[in-house]
């Protein structure tokens, strides 16, 4: 049993005691209070020292809220829009218009499923070229009406397979990047779960990049890195650590703009609270970005990406 499972079990026991407590003649209040204090302390200890690999597991936790969950909790009047107008409607990408505290925004989210059936529909959150092109269409729509664009990233990666290559997934991602680079409206991207490589950044070029505390953003999965770089599938913990994929670390590296806190134990422990924190962050960043003219916005976005990267300068000889 993992540490987290032990704590979940303890939590269940406390709930059972609380039920008992309601019955006549039994007073367990002080015992319950002590157990709850203990649980919180244990949780804090566990989650304040989360290893990278533990965060990977939280980012992929099946109970973790997905894009549509956040959309439901953060926005009003979500109106879903479908289709790339070219050849398909990829349900691994959800797009639409909605209101964020009164402002109409375009929302683009990568959507995983929970049941087998849902996952079939959502393709396990792995977008096809049609999904990226649907996103591109919505970006252009947003630009036309000056709606800010909010993207929610949560994908193991772009769908790899014959049909994806036949539909030029490379182009789909590349042209999205080009499109986002010059889109004349604010873009805020948030990694809410897994930020899987090119499949993530294809909707992730933004004026502000946020990450939920336990989200990850990585060029390769720890499993993939272990297999390819360490030639040992078991060394996922080492790989996860080496990849620098956690939100706090990426904030230190100045690649992302904010880490949005999650409840102790992860977003799924209190989805509304997580959503509230994300909404607060989105509103803060959006109000700053909406102060800028489209030209200022584009210039600042351009400068951000023009300057990104780490290298050593040598003596020209």
């Amino acid at each position: 049993m993992s540490d987290e499972q032990t704590l979940d079990l303890l939590e269940t026991k406390i709930k059972e005691l609380r039920e008992l407590n309601k019955m006549d003649g039994i007073d367990l209040s002080s015992e319950i209070a002590r157990l709850e204090a203990k649980l919180t302390a244990l949780r804090k200890e566990l989650y304040s020292n989360l290893s990278e690999w533990e965060r990977v597991k939280l980012a992929r936790h099946p109970a973790r809220p997905y894009a549509l969950d956040y959309i439901g909790m953060i926005f009003e009047d979500f109106y879903e829009l479908h289709g790339d107008r070219l050849s398909g409607d990829d349900q691994a990408v959800v797009t639409g218009l909605a209101r964020l505290d009164g402002t109409t925004v375009a929302v683009i989210g990568q959507q995983k499923g929970r049941s087998m059936e849902e996952n079939k529909l959502r393709n396990f959150g792995m977008p096809r070229p049609q999904g990226y092109r649907k996103a591109r269409r919505i970006m252009r729509l947003a630009e036309r009406f000056s709606f800010p664009v909010i993207t929610l990233i949560d994908t193991p990666g772009a769908y790899p397979g014959l049909a994806a290559e036949e539909n030029n997934v490379g182009e789909a991602i590349a042209v999205n990047l080009e499109t986002m680079a010059r889109l004349r409206t604010p873009i805020i991207s948030t990694v809410i779960g897994e930020g899987g490589s090119g499949g993530a950044i294809a909707i992730g070029l933004a004026d502000r990049i946020l990450m939920l505390e336990n989200a990850i953003y990585s060029v390769i999965s720890p499993e993939g890195a272990a297999a390819i770089l360490w030639k040992d599938k078991e060394r996922v913990r080492e790989a996860a650590a080496a990849l620098n994929l956690t939100a706090p670390r990426l904030y230190e590296l100045k690649v992302i703009d904010e880490v949005v806190p999650e409840p102790l134990g992860g977003a799924h422990k209190d989805p509304p609270k997580t959503a509230a924190a994300l909404k607060d962050a989105l509103l803060r960043h959006l109000s700053e970005l909406m102060e800028l003219s489209p030209d200022e916005l584009l210039k600042s976005r351009y400068d951000r990406y023009r300057g990104i990267g780490r290298y050593r300068t040598l003596t020209d000889k």
């Binding site: 790899p160 014959l162 990104i308």
Partner: protein, 280 residues
């Protein structure tokens, strides 16, 4: 010994003749052939026509007018922002790649002429950590595009890359965004960008700069694809057709404009460039 370790940056000089053994055996036809003859023949076997691998320097030589190359790269080399170590520390990999290739990074960048048309040209070196795109390659590509704008000449990028410089993690991913961002300036300035895809053009290089050419030319025999066969097999275990991710596959699916034999590549580039620039 790492040749760029001492922070002295050697610019690429194509006039230096590498010393080498006289003969080699063609893996395709089995004949013993003069290395020099292969070299003079664009690394194509004079006996059977098989293509041998071209280093970035050889590729450059095969595409541009002789003696026209001037290295205009920035004097930079790979850093190790994540202090990355797998079976080997990343700096060690960089050193080894530098020693092996004689290059500071996985890309050569210069000004040159092609059929007497001035261009800025970047060529990726696959032997330098698989031609993978790290911060340096991203910066050199952007620098090249800016130089092309400043000089008002076309930009040519010859890709040969496995994609991700995994050792730079998020900084690699951000290079995809970076090169795509700067590429938009070429469009706004009306500067042509010819993307040349050679063996192999894959991953994040395909999914960013290489797919954004005004015209995209693939060398015959190029592998062109986003996800590698192995990733696809591991992820979805799908049966793949024989021509998967070949030049013909890319052409049939509209990803590229032309497939060109190596021996015609320079002439084709000249012909194409001449349509974009005022001639005479």
């Amino acid at each position: 010994m790492a040749i760029f370790k001492d922070k002295n940056y050697f610019r690429v000089d194509l006039s230096k003749e590498p010393d080498e053994s006289l003969w080699m055996r063609c893996k395709s036809c089995g004949e013993l052939v003069f290395k020099r003859r292969i070299r003079e023949n664009n690394n194509i076997c004079p006996n059977c026509g098989a293509y041998f691998f071209l280093t970035a320097k050889e590729r450059l030589e095969s595409l541009i007018d002789e003696g026209s190359f001037v290295d205009i790269s920035k004097p930079i080399m790979d850093d190790d922002p994540l202090e990355f170590t797998d079976t080997k520390p990343y700096p060690k990999r960089i050193e080894e790649a530098q020693e092996k290739t004689g290059l500071a990074s996985a890309i050569i960048l210069g000004s040159a002429t092609v059929s007497e048309i001035p261009v800025v040209i970047g060529v990726m070196e696959f032997q330098f950590i698989g031609g993978s795109m790290g911060s340096v390659m991203g910066e050199q590509i952007c620098h090249g595009m800016e130089e092309a704008i400043r000089r008002r000449v076309p930009f040519i990028l010859v890709s040969s890359s496995g994609g991700a410089r995994v050792q730079e993690g998020i900084f690699y991913l951000m290079q995809m965004a970076k090169v795509a961002t700067v590429r938009t300036r070429l469009a706004e300035e009306g500067i042509p960008f010819i993307s040349v895809m050679t063996y192999p053009t894959t991953g994040g290089v395909l999914a960013s700069i290489a797919s954004l050419g005004d015209v995209i030319i693939a060398e015959k025999g190029a592998t062109i694809g986003f996800a590698g066969r192995r990733v696809i097999k591991d992820t979805i275990a799908e049966e793949l057709p024989e021509n998967f991710q070949t030049d013909a596959f890319a052409l049939a699916h509209g990803a590229i404009d032309r497939v060109v034999p190596r021996e015609d590549l320079k002439d084709e580039l000249g012909k194409l460039l001449s349509l974009f620039v005022e001639v005479g």
